[in-house]
């Protein structure tokens, strides 16, 4: 049987797992913005340190965190190559035929790769520590103000949560149907693209039929449980912002300030270090 916590949830019940999902979502957005303000390698080191510390507190193995980058490795290498060849600034290192590689190009490529990988690891960390349902609840809660301008926030949230609720079931069903058709000799994962698509029909048609049947039954179940009965729907679960969320917020703000400080006040700490090292050697 497939596991219901699809996605990447890594259950350790750490303090990071127990933070208010709304807080985590906001921190994540802040983290994403902040990464684009990092100006120096020292800044990146700080981000990495921050990320690793949070990972350690969350009791998620670093190996698991790195695995998320592996998935986009090809994309990263491709971007890096493009950057090395097309970004030109500073001293020229290689100049051969039409290829010209500059110090600035390498610098930019490395920083870009760091940026992407830290971004991916950060979002992965959110999904390691927060279930999809918590995220839906968080989004519903954060979007609440929109309901005053007649956006059906609750319906949207219900659609999201039902989708989340049914995806594992449909995945399991896909598995079962696939096995059943393989047992009938279907070769689903061989051949070219067209052949593959054709070979998927024996899986897709029953899956589609099943999804409709499920939707039909679910609709009856929703109606039977008085869905839409009251305009003033209440909610049992209330997300609570607690002391640990406040502490976490403080940490995130300090972290963000350090990065901005590095960028705007110092213009990147690297320079000073380079100067200092040069001073020593001179």
């Amino acid at each position: 049987m497939r596991d219901v916590t699809f996605g990447q949830y890594y259950p350790t019940n750490s303090v990071i797992h127990r933070l208010d999902p709304r807080a985590k979502l906001i921190f994540m957005l802040l983290y994403m913005v902040i990464i684009f303000f990092v100006a120096s390698y020292c800044g990146y080191a700080l981000v990495a340190l921050f990320l690793l510390t949070v990972t350690a507190i969350a009791k998620v193995p670093v190996k698991t965190l790195f695995r998320s980058v592996k998935a986009i490795l090809v994309l990263m290498i491709f971007t890096a190559i493009i950057n090395i060849f097309f970004y030109k600034k500073g001293e020229v290192l290689v100049d051969w035929w039409i290829i010209e590689i500059t110090v600035g190009g390498i610098d930019f490529a490395i920083k870009m790769a760091l940026r992407i990988s830290l971004l991916v690891m950060g979002t992965s960390l959110l999904s390691f520590t927060t279930t999809a349902v918590e995220l839906t609840d968080a989004i519903e809660s954060l979007l609440k103000p929109l309901s005053y301008i007649k956006v059906p926030v609750h319906d949207i949230a219900l659609i999201m949560s039902i989708a989340l609720r049914f995806i594992p079931g449909l995945m399991e069903e896909t598995d079962k149907i696939m096995m059943a058709q393989k047992a009938r000799g279907a070769e689903i994962d061989t051949g070219g693209l067209i052949k593959k698509i054709k070979a998927m029909l024996p899986v897709l048609i029953p899956l589609f039929v099943s999804a409709i049947r499920r939707a039909d039954e679910l609709a009856d179940a929703l109606d039977a449980r008085c869905y839409n009965a009251s305009k003033h729907r209440t909610k049992m679960k209330v997300l609570k912002f607690s002391a640990k969320d406040a502490i976490a917020a403080l940490v995130v703000v300090v972290f963000a300030t350090l990065i901005l400080l590095d960028n705007y006040l110092l213009g990147g700490l690297d320079r000073y270090i380079v100067d200092f090292v040069k001073g020593l050697t001179a």
């Binding site: 916590t5 350790t12 096995m179 059943a180 047992a183 009938r184 000799g185 070769e187 029909l201 029953p206």
Partner: protein, 316 residues
């Protein structure tokens, strides 16, 4: 010719927090001609075991030999897999949910076509399979599977497997969700298929009253291991252990146990037919000879006249 499973172990999602060992060190031989019942509660490993017989799960450790097709870990052989799928026919739970073609005929032909048979051979197998499962070939061949009733759909799905002419037929909860009549029809059908098509039949069921109707031998899975492997009439001498594993005892056995406590010993009774025959043998005042007694049956419905012509209607 036999199925031989040696030291089979399997773990789901290894090296993750969700890691779960489903089978550990399973050894089992299934002889050609066996009518085997497999019992075990949810998560006992019985389904995982069955999936291995058809190569639907990648072998992790152990050896499987199915009628001379040998499977070992880390070996990929498409030829073997294809041969295996023609040898072992799998009827999954609610098999009607896998129907996808627009006519019954085409759907039943899907399996044999995948085996790479000639068009003529496919056509003749399709016709035979549809007739074997008790459907009116001329009537249903061009109909859409979705128009049929629940019981009929299930028989079309079974025909789709039968058309591959497997020597081993595996059925997982074949009567799930059917009404009493539909259940009886499918049970009749299984017995018929064993006789006329696939000499070796393996049935998984959690309904002991059902499985004791036909199996000769029962394998009980518990905690990823084979807990019992016995001829059916001997298995229920272990009633207490079976109950401790969370399994049910056939009602006929429970009644016979109650009677034994009251001083009436009926011998080994496993199903309703046995119970009726044993009681008549004991109290029948000799008005029936043994041949007549052995023909007694507790079957509720008579299928001798029309095998499955009228299926249970669709739900709702």
């Amino acid at each position: 010719m036999r199925i031989e499973v040696k030291d089979l172990s399997f773990t789901y999602s290894p090296d993750t927090p969700f890691q779960k060992q489903a089978l550990s060190g399973v050894n089992l031989q299934i002889e050609e001609g066996d009518f085997l019942g497999i019992l075990g509660h949810m998560g006992s490993g019985k389904s995982t075991f069955i999936l291995h017989l058809n190569g639907l799960i990648k072998l992790q450790s152990g050896e499987i030999d199915v009628f001379d097709v040998k499977l070992v870990p880390d070996k990929k052989n498409k030829q073997d897999l294809r041969k295996l799928r023609g040898t072992v026919g799998m009827v999954f739970q609610y098999p009607e949910y896998q129907l996808f073609e627009d006519t019954v005929e085409k759907d039943v032909a899907f399996g044999p076509k995948n085996l790479g048979l000639s068009d003529a051979e496919v056509a003749s197998r399709v016709e035979r399979a549809i007739r074997l499962v008790g459907l009116d070939y001329e009537d249903v061949r061009t109909r859409a599977p979705f128009e049929l009733s629940g019981g009929q759909k299930r028989r079309v799905a079974i025909a789709g497997i039968i058309a591959m002419q497997p020597r081993v037929l595996v059925l997982d909860e074949p009567t799930a969700g059917l009404d009493p009549y539909g259940k009886e029809q499918i049970l009749e059908l299984i017995t018929k298929l064993k006789r006329e098509c696939s000499p070796t039949v393996i049935v998984i069921s959690h309904d002991v009253d059902e499985i004791t109707r036909f199996a000769d031998r029962i394998v009980v899975f518990n905690d990823g291991k084979v807990a019992f492997d016995l001829p059916m009439n001997e298995l229920f001498r272990h009633s207490e252990e079976l109950t401790a594993m969370g399994l049910e005892i056939p009602r006929a056995v429970a009644i016979a146990d109650k009677l034994r406590a009251r001083g009436i010993d009926l011998g080994d009774v496993v199903n309703a037919d046995d119970l009726v025959r044993a009681v008549v043998r004991k109290f029948g005042h000799g008005n029936m000879d043994e041949t007549a007694i052995s023909k007694l049956s507790a079957s509720q419905f008579d299928f001798s006249a029309e095998y499955g012509g009228t299926a249970a209607g669709g739900d709702r």
